[in-house]
Symmetry: C2
Subunit: 119 residues, 2 copies
Amino acid sequence: MKVQNWRQVKETKPASGVTMRILCGPAEKAPNFVMRHFEFEQGAAMPFHAHPWEHEFFVIEGKGVIRTTGKELPLEKGDSALVMPNEMHSVMNPNKEILRIICLVPLVDGKMPTAPGTK
Amino acid sequence: MKVQNWRQVKETKPASGVTMRILCGPAEKAPNFVMRHFEFEQGAAMPFHAHPWEHEFFVIEGKGVIRTTGKELPLEKGDSALVMPNEMHSVMNPNKEILRIICLVPLVDGKMPTAPGTK
């Protein structure tokens, strides 16, 4: 069993204004899926993209927008979102308050998959 | 894409004082893993048990305790926990404030697995 607070976890910057921390992943020997913590500063967005794996999101704090083909939906604290494999999507934060979300992906070939256009 | 707030989702009572809502699961066609929202009232606990699948937890609100063999650790807002397959574990809330957590499990044979001793 491993317990840790997200603030203790090393951060990376997958896109401008976006901070990612891997809470349960390959380093922790997660067997099937990876839990990541994201912070979006005001104006930050992940690129509009698709990939063969799903996302499961949960909004911890703040408000944002989730976009898919032909549709934009508001995201707020307590919302979950399921993005299906190969579904176009983007998350953005137009607000002053930080948007904090949990985003899960399955392991692909034993590794955490990386979205195209991100670091 | 499906977006919903946890408060809109139908609840069940897997144990006394424990409320579960399935946010992303088989009904939403989640391909690999299931996101559930749990609330623990004061004094509520899940039974001390183990199963062949892992858990990934994230604490949204409140404080609690997570127990494994020979060890008890505090849980508080912002903590994640990875419980490995076949690892004995229990979560409890000794405090007045509601404990709210996200708990993920893999699909097993296409279904959400149910812990022994729970409903």
